[in-house]
Symmetry: C2
Subunit: 334 residues, 2 copies
């Protein structure tokens, strides 16, 4: 049993662009689990745009405070348990934070089945897949024949949103950065069209890709993408607010969509949602996602970086540079 | 029968603050109605914040073009008819524009009953009353015990929204400019609280007035009021987008709500609506509003300025200076 634990601390709340200077690697003594707690070894940790949002202040969860271990969801293996609910060797999902080991209450760890590949549990069967599933279907309410547009389409959530839209008989359009990602969306995942926001004139490209207007816009990005989509809403459109990654690193005041009154012109709605509200329906979501995965209608891409806790900051920064495609995961060789 | 018609033209599309220089009084020959048309004498014309929005570009209607007669809804009396649907002496509501007489297709004029006072037809039984009625009840879906907040609360739409909220068993809070308007809302109209945005610290005052958060925010204003309300949304709140009067005169780029991601935190929705979509239900709305007016539960304040077509620009500018309370109407002595 180890008695030391390597952790990544958030040194200070970033103002503006996130950089390596906001993190520090420390080594701390490993505490023992108390009654009702478990000791878990972190195996795979999920890197998400939301990690950045958590640093900024209270959102749907309390903020990650400066000086504490950076928060993050992970697959972990129980090493020691002081709870009847979990046993050594059990696989769990929990917010372990960015560290090699975590001591946490057993009730905060969700036991998972062992399946191959394990990383599916962090992508298609994890928050990303469930967010796409419930966000698109419950909040977006797409109907066959409608046009669904998703931003950050080559990211983990976005890639599922477009594929589920196709399964539901919609026209799926993705907004992504770069020709390679756009090719992947159309040629590998079956999107009807993809718009490269780095190629310039997003508004014009979006008009060409969604000639009948946008019925559902699933937004992970905010900023320019949101404004371009609002300008193209079809009558009665639904905007699903999932994230605003373009704003998390803003050095100026965050920017709201200047043309939000397009919601009035289009008689449209914009609705925020948080996946945790659907926790009582995760089983249903996972079962459906598994069926689509099995039939080949849905594909899950995971980009797994094998490394060490010290690699976390750099990998999160790569995500913000838009370098990943699909779900970004750091595997600790442990 | 007159053969000359005095009209107010929109000289140019205003960029930024609206001023008298954007209008010009002209005298033009009065044309004769053709088959299917009527000639109507304008009696009472409605002055609305939306008038300004129409100048800016296409919204839910096409823009008022520079060089054309300024658009506006009015009560008018038929002088001559080339349509079997209307007869001389009939009272109608129509977009006559800012002029003494209008020639228009009979099908664009809605015949109205003669009731006293006639100005009720432009306020409580007109667009203002119906906008409050359907916007609050259909889009806002307030439930008894919930908190309803409305901006521009002392304006025509806002004053009805708060009163209807009270009738429906809600806590009604108005945002208005100045102590006199706030007093009127609370002491005359029965709002539970009013917040004076001119008194400073809107966020703090709103927190005090809506201690349990805001369940329905009916927004006529945008800008600071919208941001203050978004920051105080209760879980599952509904934001009804009716107007954005704070933005119509903006000299800089229009501003979207910087904290729109509060919709996500609160799992809230923001929905735009246009009253004309409820045209098939106006009769139902008017009947209900008449019942409340009759029982004394609802009051309609009309501020009627008696004047001349040349007075239009100045009166619209007064509306933007926030000088009116209730429905602002120009009566042409004709």
């Amino acid at each position: 049993m180890p008695d030391r634990n390597r952790q990544i601390l958030l040194v200070e709340t970033p103002k503006g662009k996130l950089g390596p200077e906001h993190f520090r690697l420390v080594e701390a003594p490993l505490s023992k689990p108390q009654e009702g707690e478990v000791l878990a070894r972190v195996r795979y940790i999920s890197l998400d745009a939301a990690n950045r949002a958590w640093m900024q202040g209270a959102t749907y969860r309390s903020a990650v405070e400066a000086g504490s271990v950076m928060a993050g969801g992970a697959l972990a293996e129980i090493v020691e348990s002081k709870s009847p609910a979990l046993r050594p060797g059990d696989l769990v999902f929990a917010d372990t934070g960015w560290q090699e080991y975590a001591v946490l209450p057993a009730k905060r760890a969700a036991k998972l089945p062992r399946l191959a590949p394990l990383t599916h549990l962090l992508s298609v069967y994890g928050i990303a897949g469930l967010t796409a599933y419930f966000g698109l279907l419950e909040v977006g309410q797409p109907k066959p024949g409608e046009t669904v547009v998703v931003s950050a389409a080559a990211g983990s959530v976005g890639s599922f949103v477009g594929q589920i839209a196709k399964i539901k008989g919609c026209r799926a359009v993705g907004i992504a950065g770069g020709a390679a990602k756009c090719d992947w969306l159309v040629n590998e995942l079956g999107f009807d069209a993809a718009v490269d926001y780095k190629a310039g004139d997003l508004a014009k490209s979006l008009k060409a890709a969604a000639p009948n207007g946008i019925d559902v816009f699933f937004d992970n990005v905010g900023g320019e993408a949101l404004e371009a989509a609002l300008a193209r809403l079809a009558r009665g459109a639904r905007v699903v607010l999932c994230g605003a990654v373009s704003q998390y690193n803003a050095t100026t005041a965050p920017r709201g969509p200047a043309n939000y009154m397009q919601l009035l012109v289009a008689r449209a709605s914009m609705t925020g949602f948080v996946i945790f509200d659907y926790a009582h329906r995760y089983t249903e979501g996972v079962a459906q996602l598994a069926k689509w995965l099995g039939s080949g209608e849905l594909r899950s891409r995971e980009q797994i970086i094998r490394g060490d806790v010290s690699d976390f900051p750099e990998i999160l920064l790569a995500l913000f540079r838009g370098e990943n495609t699909g779900k970004l995961v750091l595997a600790l060789d442990g």
